[in-house]
Symmetry: C2
Subunit: 404 residues, 2 copies
C-alpha cells in the first residue's frame, strides 16, 4: 500500500480494465472497495437519512463540508462532541472538503488574495478569512479520515491567463496545506486545477504530484462546460496521476458521467445530485430518470424501479411514493433518497465487477444503450433553478446550504 | 368479548383501578393492550416516520383521516392498491376518522343540512357533499379496522340550544351510519356530543349507547374550553358508557391530559400534538417539554432525554439534534418525532402497569409532581399559530393538511 504520511491510509489496485481500476482503499476506519461514490453530508447529515440507512444503501464513505460545519455548529462543538464521526453517528470513513468550493458556490466571495479567501458568512454576515493553514486546521479538528487542500476553483469561462493564475495559486496553497499538517492519522489529497486547458491540466498534475500527497483529486471540472469537453479533460488528466494512488474526480456526477469517469481511471466521486434530485421527485432507473410526481404514477402498483433491492422498493409502491410527494409528506424525500443512493451504489458495484471481469467496455455499451440521460439543456436549466450550485451559474434563489 | 357486529372485534377489561381500565382490544389484525394512544397518520403517513419506526416506538394502532384520503389520492386508488394497510405498509389496526371533523377544522365548511356537510375541497375548490352514508362507504372502501360515525362537532362557545341542535343531528346521523353499513369485518364506533352541558352529554350518551355500537367515542371536547371544564366533562361522561366496551376520547391530548383521561376511564386516544410539537423542535421529557432549538443544547452531549429507550436517544446527542434543527436538516424532524411518540407510548404503558398494580393514584400524583405542563396561554397561542386546528379557533395561517 502506498502511503506518504506514515498513517493507516493506503490504496491497492486489484484489477485493471483499460485505464479503469478496481481497488481497495484503507483508512483508520477499515478497508473499502473502489470505485466508490461518496454521498454528500453537507452539514453532517445525508439529507433525509440516518447514517445506518446510508450504509444499508451501500455507502462506504461520506463527504462532509468543513465550511458548513465551521460556521455551524462550529469546529469547537464537533470536537467537544468527540469529532465528526461520533457527532453524526457514522463509524465509516469521512472525507472533508476544504471549504474553498463553498466560498465560491455560495456567492459569498469577496476576494481571493495570496493569504487566502476572504468571504462573508451566508448565515450571519460575519467577515471571515479562510487560509490554507486554517482549512487544514479545521479539517484536523473535525477529525475526518481524508482531508483536502484548499484550492482556487474557477468556473467554465476564464481564459488561459486567468486559469493559469488560479492554478498557480492553487499550487502555492497546496504547499502551504502540506506544510501545515499537524496530525499524521489523516490522509491529505492534493487538487489538480488548470481550467479548460489540457496544457495547464498537465502542468498542474505534474506540480501537485511532485509535492507528494496521499491521493489526488481533479477539481474545476463539471462546472458548466459542455459534456464532451468535460469528458475529454477528465480522460486527459487521469493518466497523469500516479497508478498506485487514489484518484478523486470532484463534484461528479450523473450516472452517465460516473460510467465515463470510472472508465477514465478515477476511483472516488461525490455529488449532491442523487439526493437533491430525490427531494425533487426525480427517481433513477436503469432506463433513465423519471418524475414520481407525474400523474402517470397515481395508480402504479409496482415499486419505484422493478428489481431494485433498496428499502423503499422493498416496502412501498410507486403509487404510495407519488401520493406522499403530492401530499408533501416528509417520508417522500426519504424514500426517493434511499432509492437514488442505492441506484448510485449499485452502479458502482456493477462497474467494479465489470472491471474485475475485464468486461467494462461491454458494460459501458450496454449502459449507454439503455440509459437515457437528462437532456443537457434540462440539466443546465435545473441547475439554474436550484441556485448557484456552481461558480458562474448564478440562480434566482438565495444561496443556502441546500445548494452547496 | 363484547361484539355487536358479528366480526372479530372485541374488548376485554383485564384490570380496573377506580374508574380506569387496563384492557385488550381485538381486531382482525390481532390483539393489543389498552389504554392506547393512536398516532395521527392524517394522509396515510405518520409524518416523518415509516410504519416500522412507529411500531418500534410502541405504536399498536394508527388513526388515518378518511377525508384527506378521499380527496387525495382518492378512495378508488387506495382500494386498487389493496386497501389502506397495503397502501401505507402498516399491518396493524387502523381507525379512520369519518371526515366530519376536517370539514370544520379546515375552514372549508359551507353549510350543514340534514342531508350532510356541504363543503369546498381545500385542494382544488371542488364542491362536495359528505353524507353519513357516504362517510361509511368511504371508510369501508378504505378498509380500516375501526370506522367512525359522521358527527357534527362544534367548538367551545355555542349556547345550549345550538349545542342541542348539533347533538340531535349527530344522533340522527348516527342511526343513518349504523344502517348504512355493508361490511361486517369492521367495527363501527358511535360518537357522543353535547357541547359543554353535562345534561346534554348525559342525554347524548344514553341515545348513542341505545343504538348499539362496537365502541363509543366522546367528541367535541378539548376544542378550546378551559382545562378544568374539559376534565370535568370528560370525567362526567365516561361512566355513562358501557363498562365492557372501548371508550375513545377524541383529539386528546397533552401528556397531562392523557393521565387524567385514562384515570377517568377512557381507553383510546388520538392527537397530532406529539408529532406536530416534534416538528417544531419540542421534545417531551419526564419533567416537561423542552425546546431543542434553544442555544442551551448547542453543546449538550447527552441524549434528548436521559434514560429514554427511543431510537433517537440511543443513537444521537441532543447537540446533534439541535444542530440538525438549526441547519433545517430533514433528519431533525424524524428524530424528535421518534422520541415524542416513544414518550407518549411509554406513558401509556406505565399507566397500564399502574392500573394493573392498583397504583394509578400514586402514579398520577408522581406524574403531576414532576411534569410541568405547557402554560395554558402558551397552548392557546401556539394553537392559533398552527392555524385553525380546532373549530372556532381560526389562525392566521392558511388551512393545510398539516393542521387537521
Amino acid at each position: 500500500m502506498s502511503n506518504k504520511s506514515g498513517n493507516a491510509f493506503g490504496f491497492t489496485v486489484q484489477a485493471r480494465d483499460s485505464g479503469a481500476r478496481a481497488g481497495l482503499l484503507t483508512t483508520g476506519r477499515g478497508t473499502m472497495p473502489t470505485p466508490a461514490f461518496m454521498p454528500v453530508a453537507t452539514q453532517a447529515s445525508v439529507k433525509a437519512l440516518t447514517p445506518q440507512e446510508a450504509r444499508a444503501a451501500g455507502t462506504h464513505i461520506l463527504l462532509v463540508n468543513a465550511y458548513h460545519l465551521a460556521l455551524r455548529p462550529g469546529v469547537d462543538v464537533v470536537r467537544e462532541m468527540g469529532g465528526l464521526h461520533r457527532f453524526m453517528g457514522w463509524d465509516g470513513p469521512v472525507l472533508t472538503d476544504s471549504g474553498g468550493f463553498q466560498v465560491y458556490s455560495l456567492g459569498a466571495l469577496r476576494s481571493v488574495t495570496e493569504e487566502g479567501a476572504h468571504f462573508t458568512s451566508h448565515l450571519d454576515g460575519a467577515r471571515l478569512l479562510l487560509t490554507p493553514e486554517g482549512a487544514v486546521a479545521q479539517q484536523e479538528a473535525l477529525g475526518a479520515d481524508i482531508i483536502m487542500c484548499l484550492d482556487e476553483c474557477i468556473p467554465h469561462g476564464p481564459d488561459e491567463d486567468a486559469s493559469r493564475a488560479a492554478m498557480e495559486r492553487t499550487h502555492r496553497w497546496a504547499v502551504r496545506c502540506r506544510d501545515a499538517r499537524r496530525q499524521v492519522d489523516q490522509a491529505l489529497f492534493g487538487i489538480v486545477q488548470g481550467g479548460m486547458f489540457p496544457k495547464l491540466r498537465e502542468e498542474s498534475a505534474r506540480a501537485i504530484v511532485a509535492m507528494g500527497f496521499d491521493g489526488y483529486a481533479v477539481g474545476g471540472l463539471s462546472v458548466g462546460e459542455p459534456k464532451a469537453l468535460f469528458y475529454e479533460l477528465a480522460r486527459f488528466t487521469a493518466p497523469l496521476l500516479p497508478e498506485d494512488q487514489p484518484r478523486y474526480l470532484m463534484g461528479v456526477g450523473s450516472p452517465e458521467d460516473l460510467v465515463e469517469a470510472v472508465a477514465a481511471g478515477y476511483d472516488l466521486f461525490d455529488c449532491a445530485l442523487p439526493t437533491r434530485v430525490a427531494r425533487n421527485g426525480g427517481v433513477y432507473t436503469a432506463s433513465g430518470r423519471v418524475d414520481i410526481t407525474s400523474a402517470a404514477f397515481r395508480g402504479s402498483s409496482g415499486p419505484l424501479e422493478e428489481g431494485c433491492d433498496c428499502l423503499a422498493c422493498a416496502q412501498f409502491t410507486a403509487a404510495y411514493v407519488h401520493h406522499l410527494f403530492r401530499a408533501r409528506e416528509l417520508l417522500a424525500y426519504r424514500l426517493t433518497t434511499l432509492h437514488n443512493l442505492r441506484f448510485y451504489h449499485r452502479l458502482m458495484e456493477q462497474l467494479r465487477q465489470a472491471i474485475q471481469k475485464g468486461e467494462l467496455q461491454a458494460y459501458r455499451q450496454a449502459f449507454h444503450a439503455r440509459y437515457v440521460p437528462a437532456k443537457e439543456e434540462a440539466r443546465l436549466e435545473q441547475r439554474k433553478r436550484w441556485g448557484q450550485r456552481r461558480p458562474g451559474l448564478a440562480g434566482p434563489r438565495a444561496p443556502s446550504a441546500e445548494d452547496a
